[in-house]
Symmetry: C2
Subunit: 640 residues, 2 copies
Amino acid sequence: MNRHVYLHNTELKKAFSTWLNAIVDAGVEFPLPGEYVSVLESLGRVTAEDIFARVSSPPYVSSAMDGIAVRSDMTAKASESNPVRLKIGEDAIFVDTGDPIPQGFDAVIMIEDVNEAGADFLEVIKPAHPWENVRPIGEDIVESEMVLPVFHEIRPFDVGALLNAGCSQIRVVRKPVVSIIPTGTELVEDPTGAGEGKAVESNSHVVSSMVASSGGIPVRLGLVPDDLYAIEECFLKALESSDMVVMNGGTSAGREDFTARVISAHGKVVVHGVGMKPGKPLVLGVCGRVPVVGLPGFPLANFRAAEEFVVPLVRRFLGLEQVRSRKVEVFLARKVFSSIGFEEFVQVKVGRVGGRLVALPMKRGSGVLMSLVRADGVLRIPSEVEGYEKGKKVNIEIYGTDSDIEGNILVVGSHDVSLDILGSFLHRKYPRLKLASAHVGSIAGIMALKEREANVAGVHLIDPETGEYNIPYVRRYLENEDFAIFRFACRTQGLIVKKGNPKKITSVEDLARSDVIFVNRQRGSGTRILCDLLIRNRGMEPSLVRGYENEVPTHTMVAATVARGYADAGLGILAAAHALGCDFIPLAEERFDLVLLRDFAKTEGFLAVIDVLKSPDFKKRVESLGGYDLSEAGEPVILE
Amino acid sequence: MNRHVYLHNTELKKAFSTWLNAIVDAGVEFPLPGEYVSVLESLGRVTAEDIFARVSSPPYVSSAMDGIAVRSDMTAKASESNPVRLKIGEDAIFVDTGDPIPQGFDAVIMIEDVNEAGADFLEVIKPAHPWENVRPIGEDIVESEMVLPVFHEIRPFDVGALLNAGCSQIRVVRKPVVSIIPTGTELVEDPTGAGEGKAVESNSHVVSSMVASSGGIPVRLGLVPDDLYAIEECFLKALESSDMVVMNGGTSAGREDFTARVISAHGKVVVHGVGMKPGKPLVLGVCGRVPVVGLPGFPLANFRAAEEFVVPLVRRFLGLEQVRSRKVEVFLARKVFSSIGFEEFVQVKVGRVGGRLVALPMKRGSGVLMSLVRADGVLRIPSEVEGYEKGKKVNIEIYGTDSDIEGNILVVGSHDVSLDILGSFLHRKYPRLKLASAHVGSIAGIMALKEREANVAGVHLIDPETGEYNIPYVRRYLENEDFAIFRFACRTQGLIVKKGNPKKITSVEDLARSDVIFVNRQRGSGTRILCDLLIRNRGMEPSLVRGYENEVPTHTMVAATVARGYADAGLGILAAAHALGCDFIPLAEERFDLVLLRDFAKTEGFLAVIDVLKSPDFKKRVESLGGYDLSEAGEPVILE
């Protein structure tokens, strides 16, 4: 097949510097020129020159106290035994804090140290030194001094300092205009318009927000289909009025990937393909004097590439240093692999477990934007590194603050929609706390506890021998540990089938029918163990169930797969079936418990979790999802 | 005098909690109710409820590759020796990344693994597994799952996740409206209008910026004079339409301090006077259901009180956690005193000296807003602590990032306007670097080097015995150290007198005239040492110079004091005289050098300083100030 152009694989830093050199060679100057704005509208802008005070602040010698202004030499001999009398309005002038010191006067006596002596006179009993209680002219800043240096980002108090220094208009760096062109025939504008073959265009809004947050002016141009001429027309229009143009999508080498073609038709492609994951299919170029970026279409790749190429250029246009995220040292909870030749970005959740900060690597699919939404930070794996071993100390860049991380309770294990609701109730009542949950399946959750990689494990595991839930597994895997188990919920598992049950599925046995396609859960999950058991108990052969090898990682993905007709049945909880409008054939009641090491049970964080679990509001909310019984929620499970 | 009401001194935390209780008692609910906004305008807003996905993303099963969609069972037996032929359009459908998988198909084969076989057929040579290269429905998020929890501040990528999840309008917390009333008869709106008895109103703009930055809507009401009825009228109007009212100024107990009076006339003053410095004269109250704050008028006190009371309430109205600044452990370079009963806030500059982070406490005057502009962070001294010893390890809250601090070069010593220009040129050429300079006088600068509290000292010290500059002092104070000296500038010192020299001052001797008032520099400064020497060499008696005890800390303050007629003469550099429009009688040429320990001379930071010092642009710029000769700037001073 000849329609492929294999992309190159330029190292990330090299790609940026190559691009930047090409931009400079094209005659672009950094930062952008200045423009005048009112100081009152300068918050967040960047100074384009050194700014000097036009007046002194305070602009006159003033009183630092409420009191009387005096001539200090008149008071030189004042004492308790020899009070000095001063005529009001002549030798003594009442002044409040901030009032100017009248001409000829040189000190202020605090009002507390002044006595009345008839209607027209005052007495003072100690001498005032010259300049005592007097605020000198220019104490804050003197006319001609530098208020702010060039390339300084203006903060709230800088606004005050500028005003005090008599500045009304200042020269700030012009904001770069960044045009963003979303392309893709399958895309729609309306967020409610997604469906078969139609996805919502969201990347351009993320990039716009990133440009705005970094100080640029985003201009989003209308959605353009994958049509070379339409893209070209929009692109040429954007070039005319922009400091940078961003094209979203069409950056790979498929039949309808026109981005590189359009750029090279009107300028130069400098880099096509960058050694980063996600983000590889990236195009960097210059057309005339305008830098151009083609960002990959997958949402996470789109964000990451914008973060590495668009934001740094916006900052450079503004004369600002690159933002360096705060780095935190963490222990990696899992081994991570990485490809040589690619700088890989792995989203992580972070929390404190047993005194040390632990990072859980998250799903890496470049389409999974939610991994970013749910992450606390990102691990960068340099291109020459093949990955890191579990337990390795690494530095990650965090998205929020240290206290965000300290407030995280790491819940690892089985997936349950109600965990998100628990997290929300917890944060509402205890704003400092958040649940950070990772869905890896029940058994992996217990192992994470054992390895000190999680605070709590969400577990629902049926023992095939006894039919007993959770306790046999916890006893086996946490043999030498001091653990505790708390009840979360009893919930109903069953077969999720399409609304109206068109295939008339009524039992596990029906899964073996040749006209029924099944969707399964991943190995190691409690639901998969239950599924295997149900099949085995009926003497059925898993390989004869069509689609038994098709695995998805959550209840809701099972339900969505069934709801949209990609499968006829799957095993999952009633709440997921309800949420996706599916029918449900109940098969088992199971116990979903929270397992933890006893040390953590006494922490403020877990006591807050128990408090929420026991609250009637929370129970009612979860039970309203259907198939949940929370009557024992938050109760310890007593082990004999 | 009976016009005083002594303020109370309520502990800071107690003051906030008392106020908050009163607000809650008045029926105010936190956070504010929600309102619907378009997701496209939701950046930075705070969710008012949990937000769930309305559609799955991706909304359909799609191809994860450019390739052909196939039915996996048709390819089960494909191998190199037994290729399987597929009819294009029937058994094989071309798909690009993101395209939907056609009904009945269940896998995608990468285009690289497909061979052409005539016009209508393709051949594949290995089996496709079910769901291979297929992106499942809801891989990112499934309809019904939680996208964002309640009270979450929306970031750029959250916007994308919301759109992908089919959300177009979301409920966010309404922004609190904060009315700000600046009061003060001496204040003017126009920043260029400052002068005798007229100061620029700046506090309300700082508070407005703070409110806007924390997510509120500031409404600044017109400037109100110190008139009880005018203030009351404006206040009552503000109460009607605000979630909080801030009154700027008039919070003390002077004749014209009406803030507390107005609040208690229409509601309740809960706290008057808080144990914080700066910021003590603070009024907290509630009128009806509206929280009211009266902030002190001195700029630094105004900011600090707003930071501790206004910002936290805005955050609470929004349902957000309080912002906790990043804390950094530093060594205190100087002893700091603090009053028992007051939580004191001391601005500090921070830099790395000899491997450790050092904090230099700055001027504490509550009118000195520039100390905030120039600071890297703030040290909070709890109310029960009397201060800290020099060298003590303390935690400070930093205003910027760690890398801001690491980029600081601490220059401590004598004041020279050209140091600010050096800092600006340095930052322009080396964006990572900044000069953080503290003006403490030449001798203190050398001592700071010795104590490892500064990277560089700016020094101009004449040896009274030999007339030689700097070297004798450095040799004496840094006796056992390995130091280096680099030339900065030669500059002209002389008498600064008013434009036109109305007092006809022509020599040092004239300073002893009874009609001449002098303004002096502080002890320990190089200029003071020169001044003392000039007086002594002429056999004059310092106590006979009128104003000899009036000290200001900078050349420009000397010039400003003279320019505005508060003194007739002072000793300082030509550049300061020029800048303030004064006349100048030259007396001496002196050397301003940079002294440092040799270790620091080799650092990247200092090499950058040398590079800038030697650059013709920089020299030209400083020499244009007048009285500077930079021909030797950046050259090492060779010591025999």
